[in-house]
């Protein structure tokens, strides 16, 4: 099936985000929403285009988006012909059902969380987008989280992550990232009440993602490290 990836391959033009249009939507057409302009800071991204290029080489690519839901991002990949699975781990991680009070301390129920949110068959996804979740989950959970993702990622697939390399000054909400185009991201502070846990440097990522020999790092001006990891 000819899709936008074919045009991307031939011309190098990334598909622009066009609003869904259908002439026969009846009453629902009354509620069409206008295209929104970024209301938050927009930063360049270098790895997204590479991530999309990697997907474009797959036959019927399938990705997993683990961040807070941004509908336009899902639409973006959908319009590229990518099958998108969405798991809002930001929302799930805050769910009290995964936190148990044990001897005066709140303990995270890792097995239950993984079973209820990341129980996909092995080698399901060509791409997994982690966003900046790593900075906001318990560091000891990060390893089993990465192991689970590794299992679900196909050989030749990739993981895309954004990690903070410096401790923030003051309360820092986890971000939602809206794709403005294939080289720009709007950073949207979310309302999620997740606490910043740990910074990650290049060596930390290398140690965490041991099954990913292919790694690309781009450090942006605002101390966000963009990481594209390829499972080969």
């Amino acid at each position: 099936m000819k899709n936008l990836f074919d045009r991307f391959r031939q011309t190098g033009e990334a598909p622009s985000k066009t609003p869904a249009a259908s002439p026969s939507r009846g009453r629902a057409a009354e509620f069409d929403r206008p295209a929104s302009k970024p209301a938050n800071p927009v930063f360049p991204t270098k790895v997204f285009r590479e991530f999309i290029e990697m997907l474009s080489r797959k036959d019927r690519p399938v990705i997993l988006d683990l961040g807070a839901l941004i509908g336009s991002n899902v639409e973006y990949f959908f319009n590229l012909g990518v099958k998108v699975h969405v798991e809002d781990l930001v929302g799930s991680y805050q769910n009290h059902r995964y936190w148990n009070l044990v001897e005066g301390q709140m303990l995270f129920d890792e097995p239950r969380f993984l079973e209820e949110n990341l129980m996909y068959p092995a080698s399901t996804f060509d791409g997994v987008i982690v966003w900046d979740l790593l900075n906001f989950i318990e560091p000891k959970f990060a390893r089993s989280f990465v192991q689970r993702i590794t299992l679900m990622t196909k050989l030749g697939g990739g993981v895309l992550a954004f990690v903070h390399t410096q401790n923030p000054q003051g309360p820092t909400p986890i971000n939602k990232y809206r794709l403005v185009d294939d080289s720009s991201l709007e950073y949207i502070p979310s309302e999620a009440s997740l606490e910043f846990k740990k910074t990650y440097q290049t060596r930390d990522i290398t140690q965490l993602f041991v099954d990913y020999p292919g790694m690309k790092f781009h450090l942006l001006k605002h101390n966000i490290l963009e990481v594209l990891l390829k499972k080969e």
Binding site: A20, S24, R27
Partner: protein, 179 residues
């Protein structure tokens, strides 16, 4: 208001139009009036509304647009028509329609032959198959979106087979793509 009902009659064979006897010269000619025969299933011509107090369990199918504000469990099929799940709608069903708009809540897989839209207050837990989608900011969604109908569920690969990478057609070097 006078409205022709030919299309209706063609759709619904239960509507029987009674033949009017010819007027005798002694009868007064009555003014032109719209004539409506009682129909066994009175429904609106254009959109059917299921109110919020209604609970349906089973298969719901039809041949006109439908707005649901109530609860439905089972299956909803409106192949050539539009389905709107209103803000009070609570659906636990497989859904299949031409255009599907979710303002309430759906738990179940959704197939739209034209478009599936999730509004800001909408919530979907399930897989969506449609050639077009629209997901508003603030919507809740857990599942997958796929453009192709009948796509297979993910299955375990054979690890003994190496992944083959298909070369792209007419590859363009990345350098030339940078603006």
């Amino acid at each position: 208001m006078w409205r022709t009902r030919k299309t209706e009659e063609e759709k619904d064979p239960l509507v029987i139009r009674k033949e009017e006897p010819p007027l005798s010269p002694f009868e007064e000619k009555k003014p032109m009036e719209p004539r409506f025969e009682p129909r066994p299933n009175p429904v609106r011509e254009e959109v059917v509304n299921i109110g919020k107090s209604v609970y349906i369990k089973g298969e719901l199918s039809g041949d006109e647009d439908l707005t649901i504000e109530g609860r439905v469990e089972g299956r909803i099929e409106l192949k050539a028509h539009n389905l709107v799940i209103g803000p009070n709608g609570r659906i636990n069903a497989e859904v299949c329609a031409k255009n599907v708009t979710i303002i309430g809540s759906v738990v179940g897989n959704i197939t739209g032959s034209e478009i599936v839209e999730i509004r800001a207050s909408g919530s979907v837990v399930g897989d969506i198959k449609s050639p077009r989608i629209s997901i508003a900011d603030g919507a809740h969604f857990k599942g997958s979106v796929d453009m192709q109908k009948g796509s297979e569920e993910p299955k375990k690969p054979e690890f003994s087979k190496p992944e083959t990478v298909k070369p792209s057609i007419d590859p363009v070097p990345l350098k030339t793509q940078i603006k």
